[in-house]
Symmetry: D2
Subunit: 305 residues, 4 copies
């Protein structure tokens, strides 16, 4: 892959004061071409007058040594913008960690358009310039704070940007889950599993299992049963101010997934509790960006004039 | 149908001060047994020390003349509680009208449990007493303010508690609708029609068409296409702070429905606009009422201990 | 649109005896470019040694006078192959009529690949040659024989290749339909309508309403309710040897559609009866054609190596 | 539970010649009350003039020693009818084994009505009498013959009455499966798994995953993806004369289930092949039995007059 015009000097919006002085760059670790893309973008940022640091593992993987390498915590305190070069998965991984520090993110996709990596690699020069100078649209994405309780003790904690999933073991038959919301009994569900997805996660696994799309500004989660035994066990959208609790009632080898992280070998009586995290993920988009444009393109809806 | 213990004097919670001094009673007009139910409930309310008025048509239909008969506007200004005896449909009809005056409603179902008429006729004495004395749980339900635009003029306006539906004529094939949210193009949808449902309406038509359940506290609508041509045109939950606009692009004999009211013979270019109403429907429930209990019973989910 | 190599003489498979001596050509009536496409294909057929006739309306619409013009009945008796240039809709219209005469069809799509018009216009020379000489794969598609009964009399009869649909009027609310199969009561369904689709129709309206795909060799119909009130009213696949009967029980302005033809103003008690037609549609495909290839391309399934 | 009138002598239809002279009785092994039910039914059969044997494990579990105990093979050769007392699960287990011998089955449900155990325990006397004398309706259910291939060798074989399921491991993310039918490539599917269900299995797991109902006389299987990544990967009904092949392309800890039996730790390249078994399950029902009555009751469809 060749990036367009790397030596061109003038990018739109590069006059005036910089809004973000120190930018961290994170690359997709295993991707071919990551080294070149990260290098060119870092170079471009410097041209724009920004200080540039690389996230530690990105630096190690690309072998780029001319930029300071920072770990996530150091990035959160030293930088004022994080630029992620990769796909939605890369954003998901780093976003969860950066959300605590309040660092805003911009996503540049290396291949296909992502739901949250909305700047194409080929147009980063035109799109990044204005953002660096303060012209952008900001969006906050809710995160889930999940914990697993066993015998009145928390045995696991995780933050999830997409979803929390409880599911049966591979060879097992159904699992039975007791669902409560704010202490109220909702139902005992027999199913392959249960997905609790944020608006961000509503375009991922939850969509495959029959859930609706949730606009990012909806303050809610969607709870989607996977292959439920009872046909009227439909997806339900719950306020994110609720505490959702899912207890393993029956079934073997149940596991819980929090985005990428898994906790296996759950026991009967184990309880997964989901609350809204105190932190949100700050996403910056080019001015004129529209959530609906992204949906339409990603889901191949027919486009009108 | 015989109501239990009409002459029993002591109902729970009937000591102390009345929270609601003047109660309006509305009955389901055509229902058999409505006369007896309305009379006994009105009598019970008087025993509790309340002034009682009947809604005008209820008075005419039941032939009960011993209570003042008021029209909806008079009810809204004179009374401080409305008691609806009937089903969800009765609540839907009167609720839309009363919402503007801010009068809270209590629903007593005459037959099967309703989604919003949650007190069984057989237990009205036990449940109403505490409510009359101020012991209740209050819930606000969002309403939709819909308007139909033709050639830059509003040709129709309506308020809907359940849903706004745009659909094709009966003999026509598909309709094509252009959807915009807050001025952003979303998609051109070819389908039998499109439902925009409130949380209250999410358990009605929208559910049949494949939509999710929305908790009443979700500040959003769900937009559900009916038999969409494009398989990825999935239900989407939008913030109720948005303005949703649906324009008829193609198809014959399209019509729009606002709860019960219909507007037929829509033309190409006609635009249905949905906003959140300034008013909400105030529903009062007995203490200990749970939305999830109602869902579980109505949808026949399996009940755990 | 320019067709490739109109004057090239040798097409694959043009040696040996002709399997089809007299070919009828049918064009999509309103399509731009239809005249040129029909002319070139007719010319090609003559070069191959075939006698060529044009369907009457095709001749009139294209203004091509150098070929005999035949009506559908004459085509069925005089010709031994029908070549349809257009889309699935064109095939649907003419196929229903030709099925009675047993004339086999080949479909050439003028734009996008169709489910049953599987030869691209650009490759007609390479694909038609072998077919004309007897190298093809033949497939039989079941047709539905539908009748509408009122007061013990048949008031309407139609043949359908795709589907028979019973639905509510545009402004009406639900319709209620009593379904019986071979005289056995199945259910009273309250819904927007009911689709009975053949395997050919299973990729059309029935798919939008939530039905499964049916392989053309399945001797069955799928009955799909549209937005059913009862969530467990799921699509059901019935043997095509059954007699399916749908009676209008409640609802206003119901109508029935048989592919393109509509019968409106159905009354309570009207009964739509669907049986398998004595005729089948004979489709010819190039050798190596695969039903699954068509599905995969039309439904944009991810393609493996 | 007490059975009605155990000492009553005359049951309907007990005159005339016996159609089934030697009946095997199979009970649900762990069920409370199984001993009493099996004993009373066996006694009733003897009163009717039948020879009675107990299936070996049933005899051991109930402790009933007054009837000969036979293993499944001996039953198939010695008896001419098998009477299963239990639920659908019991029928599923024994039916698969008995199908090879061609022994017909009658199902008596001990609790709720089953899809294939359609005689209530309380009415066995009235319903069994006529069946024993040859008055019954017979139905044949297709069975699946499945095999697992690894490196060109069959490593596992099983017969399934309900379904063959290939799925991902519990903690794994998606699985990728290459589907071929009769050697034709269909699609690479990324999903939680894939269900291939018979008409009998179409009311079980496949229904939960979004599949249609298949009438038992449909000569086909339905292939239903579980939570497919691609939204257009819809259920498809395939002729049971086809050979369906599913190859593990990607994903960890995949497993395959054949009704109750599981094969875990599948490897990349492993191929599950499904064909129609040479045997069918013969089910006998009382005269007047209707498949649609069972569906309507089990799925709680609204019942018309």
């Amino acid at each position: 892959m060749t990036l367009p015009h790397p030596e061109s000097s003038a990018a739109p919006g590069d006059s005036g004061l910089l809004h973000f002085a120190h930018v961290a760059v994170i690359g997709k670790y295993q991707a071919a071409g990551a080294q070149q893309a990260v290098d060119e973008i870092a170079h471009f940022l410097q041209q724009q007058g920004c200080a540039v640091s690389l996230e530690q593992e990105t630096a190690a993987n690309t072998g780029l040594t001319q930029y300071p390498a920072l770990n996530v915590n150091a990035m959160a305190s030293a930088c004022d913008l994080a630029l992620v070069v990769g796909g939605d998965g890369t954003m998901l991984g780093i976003g969860r960690q950066l959300a605590q520090g309040g660092l805003p993110l911009v996503g540049i996709n290396q291949g296909r358009l992502g739901f949250i990596t909305d700047i194409a690699l080929g147009e980063y020069r035109a799109k990044l310039g204005p953002i660096l100078h303060g012209h952008y649209e900001e969006e906050a994405r809710d995160l889930m704070a999940a914990s697993v309780w066993r015998d009145d003790r928390v045995v696991f904690q995780a933050t999830a940007l997409n979803d929390v999933v409880v599911n049966r073991g591979g060879a097992a038959h159904m699992i039975e889950l007791r669902v409560e919301v704010d202490g109220h009994f909702v139902a005992n569900q027999r199913a392959d599993g249960l997905i609790i997805a944020s608006p961000t996660g509503s375009t991922a696994y939850a969509l495959s299992a029959g859930g609706p799309l949730l606009h990012p500004a909806i303050g809610g989660w969607v709870m989607v049963p996977i292959a439920p035994h009872t046909l009227s066990n439909r997806p339900i959208v719950l306020p994110s101010t609720c505490e959702v609790s899912v207890t393993i009632v029956a079934g073997h080898d149940a596991s819980a997934n929090f985005d990428m992280q898994s906790l296996t070998s759950l026991l009967h009586g184990d309880r997964i509790v989901v609350r809204r995290s105190a932190h949100t993920l700050r996403l910056l988009h080019p001015v004129g960006w529209s959530y609906y444009d992204t949906l339409r393109k990603k889901l191949h809806w027919n486009e009108g004039a």
